[in-house]
């Protein structure tokens, strides 16, 4: 054995940049870097355009006035801002209790049975349903049947459509947030004589508050930016909101309507509305990110 090793030359282990395989490796690294740059580019470009085209239009009038009739100058998007807030609140009021309740069932009560598996599977499937289908669905059962006092298009219908899109996110984050809570806490609470209900409401839910809140904030941000389910449930209104049983304006539908109009004033308002919407959504995202980091400490 020792004889053969003395005959073998000592391999040169130093890195040779000129080798073909090392050159190929560097080339591929360069390509991957290029791909990342291409990935990041749209965000930078979209943000830059929204900031430049929309940021210049920011004024007090933008927030306090109604949009002008087609072809006229001036005006603002006040009704759409309020409308977006109203519709998002309606969606949250429906989706948060239902989603948190469903998440509590999955994390606290189900013991991995077939029903819980089915609900988890259903949650994943529902999160893959295209957003426009939520609009078609609500159109079919609420708008076309005129359930609400004979009114067809309404803010309420829009909010319900958005809540369908929020539901899977809220359920999933509640389920996962509650699963992170240590079982010792539950045993401790139950050990000092708390009931199941008190344990969940007073101990486990508050402990899991941050991950759940993060998920809720993200789902609200997503709902606020949704357009497809609103264009034929909440429709649009050029006036101030007239209650939740009437059509209502929203930023996203305003952007859609005004972007495809052949008038420059309307196009500019679409950019301004995009600015407001994007700033709101990015702020919500950064807030959720901060919440998450806050919890990790």
């Amino acid at each position: 054995m020792t004889v053969s090793s003395s005959a073998r030359p000592i391999p040169d282990l130093s890195y040779k940049p000129g080798l073909q395989r090392n050159l190929l490796s560097r080339l591929l690294t360069l390509i991957a870097g290029l791909f990342s740059a291409i990935c990041v580019l749209p965000l930078v470009l979209v943000l830059a355009y929204v900031l430049i085209m929309g940021g210049g239009k920011i004024s007090l009038a933008l927030f306090t006035q109604l949009p002008p009739p087609p072809g006229l100058e001036g005006g603002g998007i006040g009704n759409a801002i309020i409308g977006t807030i109203i519709v998002s609140i309606i969606a949250g009021l429906i989706a948060i209790p239902v989603g948190v309740g469903g998440g509590i069932f999955l994390a606290e009560y189900s013991k991995g049975g077939s029903f819980a598996q089915f609900i988890r599977f259903g949650t994943n499937v529902l999160s893959g349903v295209p957003s426009i289908i939520a609009g078609v669905f609500i159109y079919g059962i609420i708008v076309s049947t005129r359930i609400f006092f004979g009114n067809s298009y309404s803010a309420l219908a829009g909010g319900i459509a958005l809540s369908i899109l929020m539901l899977p996110t809220v359920i999933k984050t509640t389920d996962e947030g509650l699963k992170l809570v240590s079982d010792d806490l539950r045993r401790g609470a139950l050990g000092v004589g708390a009931s199941r209900f008190v344990t969940i409401v007073r101990i486990t839910l508050p402990t899991a508050f941050t991950p759940i809140a993060t998920g809720v904030v993200l789902s609200i941000a997503r709902a606020a930016g949704e357009t497809a389910p609103l264009i034929f449930t909440a429709l649009f209104s050029p006036f101030w909101p007239e209650g939740i049983f009437n059509p209502i304006a929203s930023l996203s539908v305003l952007i859609y309507n005004f972007a495809i109009m052949p008038y420059q004033a309307q196009n500019e308002l679409a950019w301004a509305a995009s600015f407001v919407l994007v700033v709101f959504i990015l702020a919500m995202n950064l807030f959720a990110r901060w919440l998450g980091r806050f919890a990790a400490k």
């Binding site: 490796s25 991957a32 870097g33 791909f35 309740g101 606290e108 609900i119 426009i132 952007i255 859609y256």
Partner: protein, 316 residues
């Protein structure tokens, strides 16, 4: 929780009111969880019910004819179905290499951690930009920018059916590009998670036998993570098929069938967004039929994706 811990909870005698609250809360939670199943089922029933009229009248011909004429009550959704499938598959073909390449770039220790994190956050924020804002950007920035290039494609390769028409603003090609932007974050995020799950030992072993970085990535790490990546790609495909606003704003919403990618086209989702508000009578039913086709397509893709992720999860 295991059954033996459960017994300990019962040591204390519980008043009837407490039991009632407990049982009531549990049933409430079950009822709320059931909402998911109920909503999903209701969506299928409502859309199917709404499309019955059109299904009975046009049957299978609805799927293979492309005559969409509300005036004569003639409906065929082939243009939209073709558009849905072509735009989503082509956008996938572009987004997969970009997304997976980015994921490799930000997981494989190529660049400092801080830059990696910045790229990761930026890709996630890109996913948060509303579809309608991307559509606005596509109309006023992207489409005018790429039009000269599309013109060149038409002049140089016009003999190919897919480049046979001159670009005139909105069309399939810009819609595909904006879809790429929308599904890139999904692919990147899922590919990154899958790559992060590949055990460090596999990498160490690969480098230990003297491979280069890309030798390890291509022969060891990517094959180990491929199941998760494929699952993510399928989810992205489902998303691309159902994506509505950005596509509606830039695809041109033409019901005339054309093989050309440079011509205006349509997708099912865009058709719904465009026509539902002012439709009535048999047009509503036909749109519901198209919506039903879209649901079936996206559900099939999503269920297959979930099965794939579960079935092919890492075996290391």
């Amino acid at each position: 929780m295991s059954p033996d811990t459960e017994e300990q909870y019962l040591l204390r005698r519980r008043p009837a009111s407490e039991k009632l609250v407990d049982v009531g809360f549990k049933n409430l939670a079950i009822a709320l969880a059931s909402m998911v199943a109920i909503v999903l089922f209701a969506i299928l029933v409502v859309v199917f019910w709404g499309s019955l009229d059109s299904m009975g009248r046009y049957g299978w011909k609805f799927l293979v004819t492309s005559n969409w004429n509300p005036v004569d009550d003639e409906y065929g959704a082939f243009t939209a179905i073709y558009g849905t499938i072509v735009t989503s598959l082509l956008s996938l073909a572009i987004a997969v290499p970009l997304g997976v390449g980015t994921a490799v770039f930000i997981t494989e220790n190529i660049i400092p951690r801080r830059i990696r994190d910045v790229i990761g956050v930026m890709v996630e924020l890109l996913a948060a930009i509303p579809s309608v804002v991307l559509g606005l950007w596509a109309i006023f920035v992207l489409e005018p920018f790429i039009r000269p290039f599309l013109n060149w494609l038409n002049q140089a390769f016009g003999w190919l059916p897919i480049f046979s028409s001159a670009p005139m603003g909105p069309g399939m090609a810009p819609a595909i590009l904006i879809l790429v932007v929308m599904i890139l974050p999904i692919i990147t995020a899922i590919a990154r998670d899958s790559l992060n799950q590949v055990p460090i030992k596999l990498r160490q072993a690969a480098y230990g036998v003297g491979t280069t970085r890309w030798g390890a990535i291509l022969n060891v790490i990517l094959p180990a993570a491929v199941s998760g990546i494929v699952g993510g790609v399928m989810l992205a495909l489902g998303r691309a098929m159902g994506e509505t606003m950005a596509v509606t704003m830039i695809i041109g919403n033409s019901n005339n069938f054309s093989w050309s990618l440079l011509a205006p086209g349509n997708t099912i989702a865009a058709m719904l967004a465009n026509q539902f508000g002012e439709a009535d009578g048999s047009q509503v039913s036909s749109l519901m039929y198209a919506a039903f086709v879209l649901i079936v397509l996206t559900l099939a893709v999503n269920v297959f994706a979930q099965w794939l992720v579960k079935r092919l999860s890492l075996k290391y």
